[in-house]
Subunit: 145 residues, 2 copies
């Protein structure tokens, strides 16, 4: 019997980055983007494309994780602004970008997907251990993958 050709989903098949926290619903992955230290993605564990594909309780639970990440990034990195986005045009597996923005970062005030405003912002260190600790404190224990 021939196998069905199933299009691979990158976020079903790989974690999507180093995992900072996870529960049964979703995981928080660190994004390796040198211009954007602290950039995190909140990725739904199972496959769904849109927020309105989820039952209301899961929508609420997923946004609680997204906003916990926002709160942690504000506390740890003191950005000038937080950018939140769920796009998924390339990888239609529900994931939220949570991006700390600074007035002197590479694209400010434009979105990070626009043409850069300057060659590069000043290097900023991100304290990943502090992010992990703050996520644990706000969200509770992190489950193994």
């Amino acid at each position: 019997m021939k196998k069905l050709a199933i299009a691979a989903c990158e976020l079903c098949e790989s974690p999507g980055g180093p995992i900072l926290w996870r529960n049964a619903l979703a995981r928080v992955a660190a994004v390796d983007e040198p211009d954007y230290p602290g950039f995190c993605r909140v990725i739904l564990n199972r496959h769904a494309a849109e927020m309105t594909d989820l039952p209301e309780l899961e929508q609420h639970a997923l946004m609680s994780v997204v906003l916990a990440v926002e709160g942690v990034l504000r506390a740890v990195m003191r950005p000038d602004k937080i950018n939140l986005a769920s796009l998924g045009n390339v990888v239609p597996h529900l994931h939220w970008h949570v991006i700390p923005r600074f007035r002197d970062d590479r694209h400010f005030p434009a979105p990070v997907w626009a043409a850069p405003a300057r060659t590069a912002g000043p290097a900023r260190a991100v304290d990943t251990a502090a992010l992990r600790a703050a996520l644990l404190e706000r969200l509770g224990p992190s489950l193994p993958a």
Copy 2:
């Protein structure tokens, strides 16, 4: 006595577009963007910059409006994807972009803020009356401004 110089906030001082629906917390404005028919913004009525500046109940209520708009746009316009974003780098007054995306639109699969992928997508009509009616049905009566 001299007046204090207060920086004007565009979304405190103007509705932000033709209003499709509003309640005490937020309003849904139609965005006039010829490449993106159906593009809506959900704008908090009072001034706040970040989701985590709101109490949890208001975060939840605001997201309920955002996701009602997502549901209405999916039902009325049948897009290939919905894009959600809260950026506010230029106007730091909480507002959500809710954007129906089509595979042949001007930027797909890139975000609408990126360089265009083609000169223009095919013209699509948006039935604003249908959007208003569907918002009323999902969200209940719309309050006057």
